[in-house]
Symmetry: C2
Subunit: 118 residues, 2 copies
């Protein structure tokens, strides 16, 4: 799965967004992150694994706790993607090809006639 898909998928769950929001105020242990939610430890653990796989957080070991830290990069990329679409939409310009390339959103794209001719 591509990075952007992973980022958006990770943010599509309210528990995970809650965790991200909490981490925006500073690092926290798994237990601290779990506290506000009425779900089991293993469920939290899996949510953290999803966030880590999406590179939205990092985990490090501190004595007998795992401390989670929020990472900037993926959030920035996701925000940028939305921003570009919005900006393009507002501008009314017809430079789609440029936007498509800038966003590298050609996954699954069908072989183009123009391309197969060349």
């Amino acid at each position: 799965m591509d990075t952007l898909s992973q980022t958006f998928a990770a943010l599509a769950d309210p528990t995970r967004r809650g965790i991200v929001t909490r981490l925006a105020s500073g690092d926290a242990t798994v237990g601290e992150l779990a506290e506000p939610f009425a779900i089991s430890g293993p469920a939290i653990s899996r949510h953290l694994k999803v966030l880590e796989a999406a590179q939205l957080i990092e985990r490090r070991i501190d004595a007998r706790w795992r401390v989670c830290t929020l990472k900037r990069e993926r959030l920035a990329e996701a925000q940028k993607w939305i921003g570009e679409v919005r900006q393009f939409w507002e501008s009314g310009f017809d430079r789609l090809e440029a936007l498509l390339q800038s966003q590298d959103e050609r996954t699954n794209e069908r072989q183009r006639k123009s391309e197969s001719k060349e």
Copy 2:
């Protein structure tokens, strides 16, 4: 499912992001949207249904075509959510409670001790 979850889930698929990007350059029929992708019509139709359910697009009937339009609101909300988290994270301030409330991210939250005492 809450709105934000629906928005992020809709954006978590590369085909749907491709459709959104295409629509940022202007309205398009289902056929036009389907053209770049190597998947079946029904698959596109379902992607459009997801985007419509998430209120990212609208469909209207024009003769024998269904024309799709991008909508602004949900994209703006999603971008805003990410922006708030990032801003909060960068600020280093400890006003988590305010952020939580502003984002209405208390879904699934466990009964708090302080609350049950009051």
